[in-house]
């Protein structure tokens, strides 16, 4: 018969597992936030039109310009929502609709200078929200 008790070992394992899970979640919060920050800077450069190299050349470059602006904002929203969601989970609170609405408004607000970017970003954000809602329900 073994002299080493089995139960404390299990507890230690679960604590270690719990700890690594927490660390993983924290790392996810930080990395997502940093990526969100990088995308926020790129968004400033393109959406305030500090960089306007693709604008007013021809249809193709206009399309590239609009796509770039839309994709940057959508990725910003995705990374930030991931980061905030994980942060909330770490502190033991759920992500509420007010925070979601604020992030949504601040994301769509970045498109104010270009109506086409506004429409496509709005559509993209709605699709992301529907996707997140459906995933959560499943």
């Amino acid at each position: 018969m073994s002299k080493i008790p089995k139960r404390p070992e299990k507890k230690e394992k679960s604590r270690e597992y719990h700890r690594s899970d927490e660390e993983y979640a924290y790392r996810s919060v930080l990395i997502s936030a940093v990526l969100g920050g990088i995308l926020y800077i790129i968004s400033i450069l393109f959406n305030i039109e500090i960089i306007s190299i693709f604008m007013n050349i021809n249809m193709f470059w206009t399309f590239i310009d609009i796509s770039l602006k839309v994709i940057v904002i959508l990725l910003f929203f995705l990374f930030m929502i991931t980061s905030i969601g994980n942060y909330k989970e770490l502190i033991g609170k759920p992500l509420n609709w007010k925070e979601l609405l604020l992030l949504f408004l601040l994301s769509i607000g970045q498109t104010i200078l270009n109506p086409l970017v506004f429409v496509f970003t709005l559509i993209g954000l709605l699709i992301i929200l529907i996707y997140l809602y459906v995933i959560q329900e499943m």
Partner: protein, 264 residues
């Protein structure tokens, strides 16, 4: 419950497709016939659009059809002039040696033939050598007659397959000339953009289309209130986002300290 969710998803999908279709249709060639000019720095009228130095950057840019020829039209204005550029791609073999592009200008927004009293034409004499002449005509009963005073400026250049025609037209000219369309701030004018291959006006015109151009009433010295408001809102949004982001990063680092404390 599942049925309702499915219906909601289908409805959203239909709305999205409708919005995208609306934008694609409105950006199509056939629907554009009214263009508002934008205020910006005056371009150099040399038949070359210098994109790296942001020439024509602020111009309203529209793709329209000149008959069956797709052209890019840019419209810009400042305190003194209205600038219009016409650009199109055509294989070298299809360019005529005596190609021309003209702006036949109405005295108002009316598209009645009698109202088109002024014509500015850039006529190539030898397109392969980029030799051209800018003409200013007044139209009397369909006859193109030379203006006593040349008003405006024009230049053109053929580079590979791309032809660029640039026009500069004075707005609210100090000397009122009956031989020119009296362009004024805050008004709309009909422009007949014409393309031809032989220097005979009006018979040499091969393709033409009429567009309306709205000349803005405000000048470069004052930024329109709506534009200023949008810019302020934009700055507020990005500043708020930046401040909230910094606060969030601070909270993340505080969370790390809390986690460490709990672990201990």
């Amino acid at each position: 419950m599942k049925k309702i969710k499915f219906s909601v998803l289908i409805c959203i999908l239909i709305v999205n497709i409708s919005i995208i279709s609306f934008f694609l249709i409105s950006k199509g060639y056939s629907t554009i016939d009214e263009i508002s000019s934008e205020i910006g720095e005056s371009p150099v009228i040399d038949g070359y659009i210098d994109l790296p130095s942001n020439e024509w950057k602020k111009a309203t840019r529209e793709e329209i059809l000149l008959g069956d020829l797709p052209i890019t039209l840019r419209v810009l204005q400042n305190d003194e002039n209205l600038y219009i550029s016409v650009q199109f791609d055509l294989l070298v073999k299809y360019h005529s040696l005596n190609e021309f592009v003209g702006l036949i200008i109405s005295n108002s927004s009316s598209e009645v033939k009698e109202e088109f009293i002024d014509a500015k034409i850039i006529q190539f004499s030898n397109i392969s050598k980029n030799e051209f002449t800018f003409f200013d005509y007044y139209i009397d009963n369909g006859n193109f007659l030379n203006d006593t005073n040349l008003n405006g400026e024009g230049a053109a250049k053929l580079e590979e397959d791309t032809s660029t025609y640039e026009f500069s037209l004075p707005i609210k000219a100090l000397i009122v000339n009956e031989q020119d369309a009296a362009l004024d701030f805050g008004n709309t004018y009909a422009f007949n953009i014409t393309y031809g291959e032989t220097p005979i006006y009006q018979n040499g015109v091969k393709k033409s289309t009429i567009i309306l151009i709205n000349i803005k009433s405000s000048t470069t010295s004052e930024i329109p209130f709506s534009e200023l408001t949008v810019q302020i809102i934009c700055i507020v949004i990005f500043s708020t986002l930046g401040a909230l982001y910094c606060y969030y990063i601070y909270k993340i680092f505080r969370l790390k300290a809390t986690i460490k404390r709990i672990k201990r």
